[in-house]
């Protein structure tokens, strides 16, 4: 009854403060980035000029930018496949209620609670050319020729950083797939078995299709977090050597806060944002399916 008399005053009183904070510190800065991307602001002082689309014209001929786009594409392609498949495999292997499964699951998702900074620091030692365990292991099994300075070698740096990133992402994907698996009805799986289907047939014909919502969530979240990942790359290589691990997120930071080309950096941020937006829109179109997972 109250609802009818005050169609919006009461909800507005609850919403006004959070919405105001959200607009001031999230929405307005986002729009401001768009504005700065059309200027030549250098990061200090209030003076800058409106330069139209000059930043965007320049960025598309910038070799560092096209290099960053290429690295981002590699990073994204690796991110969507390896940790997704590994997370799915672990979830399928550990979904039962055995005590040992609980322990194994916990240990596999332990990296989720660590900061990318810490993960980066630890993996730098693992990759250390002389004393790192990766090379010690390769040498101990006689594969000396494979041992390399993983993070300083232009051919391996991006992939080496990616492995450290995937170490954390795999556990996260496993958690989401495990949640998805609880919504696969047991009678359906039993029925397939009664009909004489073996495990692989059940997996491909029954379980995987039922995991569609979870897969959508995993792929969307992985893509978004892959696009914005900056910290672990910064800690391990700072985008080097020779910009070989320089992704768009690192490029945006370097241009803005190392070279103080804030207007130019903003245009990189806008491009990163638009790439994310594509994924968000695709993801929201699937939310009806994804919603099932949350229930």
């Amino acid at each position: 009854m109250m609802l009818r008399r005050h169609p919006w005053i009461v909800p507005a009183s609850f919403l006004v403060l959070p919405v105001l904070v959200y607009i001031t510190f999230v929405i307005l800065p986002t729009l401001n980035s768009l504005y700065y991307s059309f200027t030549d602001w250098v990061g200090y002082g209030a003076d800058f000029n409106f330069v139209g689309t000059a930043n965007f014209e320049k960025i598309f001929t910038d070799r560092l930018f096209s290099n960053a786009i290429k690295n981002t594409a590699i990073w994204l392609a690796l991110a969507m496949t390896a940790p997704t498949l590994l997370g799915l495999t672990l979830a399928l292997a550990l979904q039962g209620k055995r005590k040992i499964n609980t322990l194994y699951k916990s240990l596999f998702y332990l990296p989720i609670c660590l900061s990318p900074i810490i993960i980066g620091i630890i993996w730098v030692w693992l990759y250390s050319p002389k004393l790192g365990i990766v090379n010690l292991f390769l040498r101990s099994i006689g594969l000396d020729q494979l041992a390399t300075a993983w993070l300083a070698n232009p051919n391996t740096a991006l992939f080496a950083v990616f492995v450290a990133w995937a170490w954390q992402q795999t556990g996260l994907n496993m958690v989401i797939f495990l949640a998805g698996l609880t919504s696969v009805p047991t009678p359906l799986v039993e029925a397939a078995k009664v009909d004489g289907a073996n495990y692989w047939q059940t997996l491909i014909k029954v379980i995987i299709p039922m995991l569609r919502p979870a897969t959508v969530v995993v792929l969307a979240l992985t893509a978004i977090s892959a696009l914005k990942s900056f910290e672990i790359i910064w800690v391990m290589t700072m985008g080097g050597p020779f910009n070989k691990s320089d992704t768009l997120a690192v490029f945006m930071y370097s241009e803005s806060f190392r070279k103080f080309k804030m207007g130019y950096g903003s245009s990189a941020a806008v491009i990163l944002f638009l790439m994310t937006l594509v994924i968000i829109v695709l993801y929201f179109r699937q939310t009806a399916a994804a919603e099932e997972l949350y229930d």
């Binding site: 009854m1 609802l3 169609p7 919006w8 909800p11 009183s13 609850f14 919403l15 959070p18 919405v19 904070v21 959200y22 510190f25 999230v26 307005l28 800065p29 986002t30 401001n32 980035s33 700065y36 990061g43 292997a93 194994y104 916990s106 240990l107 596999f108 332990l110 989720i112 609670c113 660590l114 900061s115 900074i117 810490i118 993960i119 620091i121 630890i122 030692w125 693992l126 004393l131 365990i133 170490w167 996260l172 958690v175 969530v217 977090s225 914005k228 900056f230 910290e231 945006m252 803005s256 806060f257 804030m262 990189a268 941020a269 990163l272 944002f273 994310t276 994924i279 968000i280 949350y294």
Partner: protein, 285 residues
């Protein structure tokens, strides 16, 4: 009979094979954690004698003492700063998210769906899009290089996930509860504070573990918004220490372990809530 027995053997063999593979994977997966722990407890003498990956001959605390020493690593200051930042920012974001979640979950009004989507979409925004304008804004309002700058920004960026979780929570609280209280003459606000809030404890626990972990571990915002040691957070501090301790793996490892203790604590004791949060409200990260 015999075929049933053969089936059992087959099953057992399959399980043994599965767990062997899983155990090997797990051992490989745990190598980084193992490395950090053994290195942190080793003396520099033992490390430089070549024992990087061996188990320490005796557990030494010297690395921890060195990184905590105010004249050396000074990690105590950064830990304090991180607490002063993480606790209020978690509380503020959860409080604002609870208000918004209640407004959206328990009332219908024109445009509520659009507003909800606009807020939740913020969860997926890459921080990069706001980096430069927030850097400028904090400079303009004089909060640059203070913990407040980081508190405010984490509060604001935490609103989407907190609103999503709380709105989903309030939606399943029976309306009868509210209507009965209205008939008894309670007003909308006493219903919220006295009836609804006490019910939300499990959801608040989920958000508290999630927000604490995420804000504690964040590096990018304090890296952009602070400068002096006095306002340095633990993750920025640890990264600085790796510059100071270039070949001192023991110091780096000890700092890394100390910096991870609060979130490891949550992982061990509140794992149920944390995992629920990860799957419930999509994910940050």
């Amino acid at each position: 009979m015999t075929s049933a027995r053969a089936m059992n053997w087959q099953r057992l063999l399959g399980a043994a094979l599965l767990y062997s593979v899983l155990t090997i994977m797990l051992i490989l997966f745990m190598v980084p954690v193992y490395g950090a722990i053994v290195t942190a407890f080793k003396t520099q003498a033992e490390v430089s004698a070549g024992g990087y990956w061996t188990i320490p001959t005796r557990f030494a605390a010297e690395n921890f003492e060195r990184v905590m020493d105010p004249d050396d690593g000074n990690l105590g200051l950064y830990l304090g700063n991180s607490l002063l930042l993480t606790i209020p920012a978690s509380l503020f974001s959860i409080a604002l998210g609870t208000l918004a979640g209640y407004g959206l979950g328990k009332y219908n009004f024109k445009g509520d769906g659009v507003l909800f989507i606009l807020i939740v979409a913020g969860m997926f925004l890459p921080p990069q899009i706001a980096l430069i304008p927030v850097f400028r804004l904090m400079n303009d309002i004089g909060l640059y290089d203070t913990l407040w700058a980081v508190i405010i920004i984490h509060t604001a960026f935490g609103i989407p996930i907190c609103t999503l979780v709380m709105r989903n929570f309030f939606q399943v609280v029976p309306n009868a509860l509210r209507e009965a209280a209205l008939i008894d003459g309670a007003n909308e606000y006493s219903i919220f504070f006295l009836i609804m809030l006490p019910l939300t404890l499990p959801a608040l626990a989920v958000l508290a573990t999630l927000q604490f972990t995420w804000i504690w571990n964040d590096f990018l915002w304090p890296f952009i918004l602070t400068q002096r040691a006095e306002s340095r957070t633990v993750m920025v501090g640890i990264l600085n220490l790796t510059g100071q301790y270039t070949v001192d793996w023991g110091g780096q490892a000890a700092a890394s372990l100390i910096g991870s203790l609060p979130t490891l604590f949550i992982f061990v004791f509140f794992q149920r809530y944390f995992i629920r949060g990860l799957t419930l409200g999509a994910v940050k990260g």
